[in-house]
């Protein structure tokens, strides 16, 4: 550029452009809602819905891993507590592990799991050093001769080990289940329990809605609220009317004094939370409801990274998206609720799968109760959930992300109710079989059970040699 180009006009234009750019960036950073302009790299599949909410993780402008860790634990903290987590924080904070901490700071989540790095994010949505086990378990070959030839990059292979949740993979569990047949003689999943335990749910609003059937005349909607006979009948025929849940329970919030607030024609999760608080809480921890928990607009299939049905692209996800309003059909929610949106290969193959045949039979009354396998049976399983220190109850886990990835997390909550552990490990390691929604037999064989069996046989020989 010649010197004549640097005229006063050029400098004026440069100054105006610089000020405008600075103002735009400052506005975006401090005032604007969408800050994705500053994102250093794409978010991982677990967090991508929160792209508009940087401060969900970056709560303070300054601070290191400890600030980010706080945000991690707010959402994932429950999974980092024993007995779920086999490597809790306290294992590493002991001074005797100071030398190990110098090599790999296991006190902070962000040591292994970094964000905005799609180039090193693995299939299960995480970044993780492939050989991290080496730092503490370098001598595993001495304790487990069968592991001598194995590379430290294979520890977390499907069916082997999971750093945090090893509950379905530890040796004694493998031994306990190693001889189970591929499918149980009478496979059944846990039954529903809500109606039986409702009396024990402390926060249940029984003062306002005693658990007793309501008749058609008992509806308490204000007189100026219009509704169809169809809605009225739907409500009357559901468990809600049978359990004394009147119109106001969902459509009107109560204040601290118990006074009813204004009528809400289309209540969101806040209409369900009084009786189904745990379900709503878990829903908001999973990928269906996490945007609501972050104060963002509801998730829509259009925002998903997985293939979705175009017809449902802009449907907003809340409780009634799957359950419907007034009829609250859990059978429909368990399959149609999912397939209305999900259009990936695994989902589309479900209706031709043996699981679906069992489900159709149960729904048609031809199969026994709890013998069918819906989408929800595996992805929103009925689990025994600790609701307090002294009580647990069977709950449909509406946080479908909790047992999704790695898929070994699904073994105890879903697969093992019907299938043997060996068959399960092989099936979950077979990507093609998963795509076919388990139509067929596994073609992959995971060695875990064989290794556990060999270890058990070695122990039996030792006992026999010792004359015990």
């Amino acid at each position: 550029m010649s010197e004549q180009a640097f005229t006063p006009g050029f400098w004026t234009a440069w100054l105006i452009a610089s000020v405008a750019l600075a103002a735009y960036l400052a506005y975006t950073l401090f005032v604007g809602e969408d800050k994705t302009l500053f994102m250093p790299g794409e978010l991982n599949p677990g967090h991508h819905q929160l792209a508009e909410s940087c401060d969900a993780c970056h709560r303070e402008g300054f601070g290191g891993g400890e600030v980010l860790d706080e945000a991690c634990l707010d959402c994932h903290g429950e999974e980092r507590v024993k007995p779920v987590d086999s490597h809790p924080r306290t294992k590493f904070s002991d001074p005797r592990n100071a030398d190990r901490l110098e090599k790999i700071n296991a006190l902070e989540c962000v040591t292994c799991h970094v964000e905005h790095r799609p180039e090193i994010t693995q299939k299960d949505g995480l970044t993780q050093p492939r050989d991290m086990c080496f730092h503490c378990h370098a001598g595993i070959g001495d304790d487990r001769p069968s592991h001598r030839e194995m590379s430290f990059e294979t520890c977390k292979d499907s069916g082997c080990h999971n750093f945090h949740n090893n509950r379905a993979l530890y040796t004694d569990f493998l031994v306990k289940h190693m001889d189970a047949p591929p499918t149980a003689a009478r496979p059944r999943v846990p039954g529903r329990e809500f109606a039986e335990v409702v009396e024990e749910i402390m926060e249940y609003p029984r003062d306002h809605y005693p658990v007793e059937p309501l008749g058609a005349a008992a509806k308490d909607a204000p007189l100026d609220v219009l509704f169809s006979v169809r809605l009225w009948r739907q409500w009357l025929e559901t468990a809600h009317a049978q359990a004394g849940v009147n119109c106001s329970a969902c459509h009107q919030q109560r204040d601290e004094q118990g006074e009813l607030g204004p009528w809400n024609e289309h209540p969101g999760p806040e209409g369900c939370v009084a009786c189904h608080g745990l379900e709503v809480q878990r829903f908001q921890q999973g990928k269906h409801g996490m945007r609501l928990a972050a104060g963002l607009s509801p998730m829509t299939p259009a925002q998903a990274r997985l293939p979705m049905q175009e017809t449902a692209a802009h449907e907003e996800l809340d409780c009634v998206s799957c359950h419907g309003a007034h009829d609250f059909d859990v059978t429909r929610a368990a399959v149609e609720g999912c397939l209305r949106c999900h259009a990936d290969e695994h989902s589309l193959a479900y209706e031709d799968s043996p699981h679906h045949r069992l489900w159709k039979a149960e729904v048609a009354g031809e199969g026994e109760a709890n013998s069918g396998v819906s989408c929800a049976t595996c992805h929103m399983p009925r689990i025994d959930f600790d609701v307090s220190e002294w009580m647990s109850r069977t709950m449909v886990d509406h946080n479908q992300s909790a047992n999704l990835s790695p898929n070994s997390k699904m073994i105890r909550s879903a697969c093992i109710h019907c299938h043997g552990l060996g068959f399960t490990l092989d099936a979950l390691a077979d990507e093609t079989l998963i795509q076919r929604n388990f139509s067929g037999q596994p073609t992959v064989q995971v060695r875990s059970i064989d290794l556990a069996r060999a270890d058990q046989e070695r122990y039996q020989r030792e006992l026999e040699a010792a004359g015990q």
Partner: protein
């Protein structure tokens, strides 16, 4: 009736105030007196830990498992609907202490149960002090081991106490466990040691 002047009242009040202040400052701040040595603190902590664990082992595990035979104790207590093993009870306590003391900088100590013959290899001695201490308490029954060591740039007073088989369940569990490297323990044997660390300055 004689009435004291305001000046006299002021003087009396000032003297009374000074006396009170002197009396208060003369009372020793007992709660904060640095009279407990790291060794005394470690010994005290160990007495509590050892007593609690002995009670759990004898009165709960040994009584219900061996004597009354009403329940099992299992490493996988959740899956097996069983009692927590005494060693696990001890370790869970130490993990809870670690979690709580992290938020209490004035209450800094840590402890662990280790052995020269550990069922879980992560519980074998790691530092030189641990190795020396565990060997010392195994070879010198009834004696404790004390030293100072530096870990991660920090200095610690480290005490090692013998962990003895106090009930038949200790012996049977360690002798029968699949991963146990030693199967000839007898009641009263030193099976390992409790290592207590207290950070010290200097």
């Amino acid at each position: 009736m004689k009435v004291m002047s305001r000046k006299k009242w002021t003087a009396v009040a000032a003297v009374a105030g000074l006396c009170t202040a002197a009396a208060v400052s003369a009372v020793p701040d007992v709660a904060n007196q640095p009279v407990i040595s790291p060794k005394a603190m470690a010994d005290a902590l160990h007495v509590v830990m050892d007593s609690d664990r002995t009670v759990y082992t004898r009165q709960i595990v040994n009584r219900l498992v061996k004597k009354d035979k009403v329940i099992e104790a299992s490493e996988h207590f959740e899956d097996d609907k069983a009692l927590v093993l005494p060693a696990q009870m001890f370790r869970f306590g130490s993990e809870l202490v670690a979690e709580r003391t992290e938020k209490l900088p004035d209450v800094a100590f840590s402890y662990s149960l280790q052995s020269l013959w550990p069922i879980n290899k992560q519980n074998e001695p790691k530092t030189d002090a641990e190795k020396e201490g565990l060997e010392y308490v195994a070879d010198n029954k009834g004696e404790n081991f004390y030293t100072v060591e530096e870990l991660g740039g920090k200095k610690y007073f480290t005490a090692v106490y013998a962990d003895t088989a106090v009930a038949p369940v200790c012996v049977s569990c360690h002798n029968d466990h699949k991963d146990s490297p030693r199967r000839d323990f007898e009641l009263g044997d030193v099976m390992g040691g409790v290592v207590i660390r207290i950070p010290v300055q200097g």
